[in-house]
Symmetry: C2
Subunit: 456 residues, 2 copies
């Protein structure tokens, strides 16, 4: 597309990268964000939420020339560390290839990096403290309200992009149209953030891999799988870990309804997460103070309306966090939208439809896989069979790397589109089952032969 | 429950019957309706939309003592009349039992009947021209706006019921809460109302079965199945038929995108609905003037919030119209809600949860069956195999009436809960397939035996 006036709503990870990429292509971009400007005010205070960035995210960031800046700030996690109720933790590598790792990064830090990179592009204007309250999708006109003064403005653009997350105001405006399909489905589990502090006063090491005194192995995503629930922990450069507890909202123990006080939580932790308790000196206080968050899967269709308004990232398709792919998927959306805009010279509506065609199938696939991975993480990772299967996966991948690629590898360490990865994994499973069947029959034949030969 | 102050939002079919039933139990009921009062102003003008009322609807109306008033105004439709592209129409009875029929009634007329019955109960207050704009679900406080003056009022109640249809304002307020699951899915087909007038000046016959000069057999639901699309026609007491054309919104002919002018419609009808054209003198004008409507399936969960606000009918679970069960299902909801309230002495929240437990499974089932019946009506009714299957269904029902009951009979002519009916139909299908398989094998054996005996 020739140079356009673009209005991006939402300065989160996806919105910021999109602004950077659109401005790099000569479009004139306005960014509207509900919250205040996080730059230059040490906005990294508050709860530190971690993300796992994998190959897809790095691919998109490398295209923008920003990948290496992130690598400097990230902690490699080449596998899971499984913490059983009793006994030593067990390390499960994510891939046969030891170079493959997902990367723990701070959401706030990554967001700031992307926002600063976007602001440094020519033709970018950033408007903070402005809440989008309505949009005329076909006119490309967004009504915004200044959060301090309450003043209302109209902003016009050739293209409006809703990058404003799972509770998108742009999508809410689209929903008022007839024939807009929409669903929101909440998980019956909630999450609560807890913390494992650094062992001593670990000063954050600048720009390099961290050397702070970690209470556990920093190069792993730690999981305490407990059947219907779990806790995870991701490392931070300052030596701490951010823990996230996933429990059902309702029901018997453990649930957020049944266990409400810090003391009850402490008792429960002593019985069920015993190795974590000594590392969590503020567990009871954190448990009482921190809120319980919800997790939602959102589907919407179509993603664009009126030929000039389009949704991206969580605004179009929010997913649950269990495959660590929310941000990665959103960054791939940015690549697809930018490529679709590049591929059309004048027909904006066609570019937006093309972007949706490219991405919808894959966004649906990762939404399903993210739900399925919750069950894998909280339940299956603790089982011997699961570990055996993972070993078989890695062995087959070693024997025929171009023929057999485990699903986790495809999702996290390649850019094979999600749905293609899922289909290939299903085909591989069928072949594997057939092979195992054949081997079983063969072994049975050998046994019968041996018995026949050995018979007197 | 002891006497409560109940606020019902929406004076449609379900809301009006509910007010009647609640007032009959001694509750003090306020009804709030966005539109004006339809009583005493000949509100039967405008487009006449028809409903098919079947056993479930009559069961609920009979419990309220109103069934016979409706029977007087309804036209029996004991079967479908299938209109092929060429050749004579074919009558398919709905049931083996000729007494079984669905009943064509005017929505406006039925609504008026229910509203008048509700107004005649003691303790009922009706507020028209008031739009609900917000609700505090746990306080039972509804904010209403007077549509003429714009004045805003707060109305308090012990129980608030959202009976305000597929685009419910009460549900929209619930949706703002976290953990409220919701989906809306539009059909890719739209509908347009058309008309077949009475042959002469047919004056409506008062209170009895109609004798007006109908252009087709009045005692049938007429269908023009055309594969991916269809037209239907339901009789009115004045001798006319209300036709509804179901076409895809987009795509080649026929679609509402491809055929827009009255002339194009007329050409298309001459080729594809030839027997209807001579009966539709205003076809071209009607086609151009009447809007294209959408059809949506809505799921929401939970149906009650805050212990004193609850959804009913389309507000909780809108369905597409192809099984003729929207109103029937809504009337069953009224029975279930009233029974659940009766069964609890003080615990309102428990009564509301109990109502949802009773109904959700069945509402989900009829939502699915209504979508499936669209394919049956527009496509399968035209096939010989389908007609053979229907005959087999009716024959088996005749042979073993207590063992074999076709799905259509269970849905339309019994009050077996929808999901139970669907499960039973699936079991019957399995048994039928096994029996047909056994018969085939038996026949093969007989043939072999005969050949063996006949061999020289």
């Amino acid at each position: 597309m020739a140079s356009m006036r673009v209005l991006v709503v939402g300065a989160g990870l996806v919105g910021s990268l999109l602004v950077h990429q659109l401005a790099a292509r000569g479009h004139s971009v306005r960014l509207v964000e509900r919250r205040g400007d996080p730059r230059g005010r040490g906005a990294l205070a508050g709860r530190s939420i971690n993300l796992a960035i994998s190959a897809r995210g790095f691919h998109a960031l490398d295209r923008a020339g920003l990948g290496d800046r992130l690598r400097e700030r990230a902690i490699r996690m080449p596998g899971r560390m499984i913490h059983p109720r009793s006994g030593e933790p067990i390390f499960q590598p994510y891939s046969r290839d030891p170079r493959h790792a997902i990367h723990s990064v701070s959401r706030a830090r990554l967001n700031l990096l992307l926002l600063e990179a976007a602001a440094a592009q020519p033709g970018v204007e950033m408007l903070f403290d402005r809440r989008a309250i309505d949009v005329d999708c076909s006119q490309g006109r967004v009504v915004v309200e200044h959060s301090a003064t309450g003043a209302v403005d109209m902003l016009d653009a050739d293209l409006v992009v809703g990058a404003d997350g799972a509770y998108s105001a742009i999508r809410a405006a689209m929903q008022k149209n007839e024939r807009f399909d929409y669903s929101q489905r909440f998980l019956s589990h909630g999450y609560k953030e807890l913390s494992i502090p650094a062992l001593a006063d670990g000063a954050e090491s600048k720009g390099r891999a961290p050397h702070a005194p970690f209470a556990m192995d920093p190069n792993a995503l730690h999981i305490w799988p407990r059947g219907g629930s779990m806790m995870i922990a991701l490392p931070n450069p300052d030596g701490s870990f951010t823990c996230t507890l996933f429990w059902p909202f309702e029901g018997g123990e453990p649930s957020f309804a049944a266990i409400r006080s810090g003391d009850d939580a402490l008792d429960y932790f002593r019985a069920h997460y015993p190795d974590a308790v000594p590392l969590m000196p503020t567990l009871a206080e954190d448990f009482e103070r921190n809120p319980v968050g919800t997790m939602v899967t959102v589907h919407s269709a179509p993603w664009s309306w009126g030929g000039r308004t389009v949704l991206i990232g969580d605004a179009a398709h929010a997913i649950v966090p269990f495959y660590g792919q929310g941000a990665n998927c959103g960054f791939e959306d940015v690549e697809a939208l930018v490529d679709s805009l590049d591929s059309q010279t004048t027909n904006l509506a066609k570019a937006l439809a093309d972007y949706e065609t490219r991405r919808r199938r894959h966004a649906d696939a990762i939404a399903d896989m993210a739900l399925a991975n919750f069950i894998e993480m909280r339940d299956k990772t603790a089982s011997r069979w699961f570990r055996l299967r993972k070993k078989l996966d890695h062995a087959l991948h070693g024997m025929a790397p171009s023929l057999y690629l485990p699903l986790y590898d495809m999702v996290s360490f390649t850019t094979i589109p999600y749905d293609d990865a899922r289909r290939r994994a299903r085909r591989q499973d069928v072949v594997l089952m057939l092979m195992l069947g054949a081997v079983t029959v063969l072994l049975a034949c050998v046994v019968v032969l041996i018995l026949a030969v050995a018979a007197p």
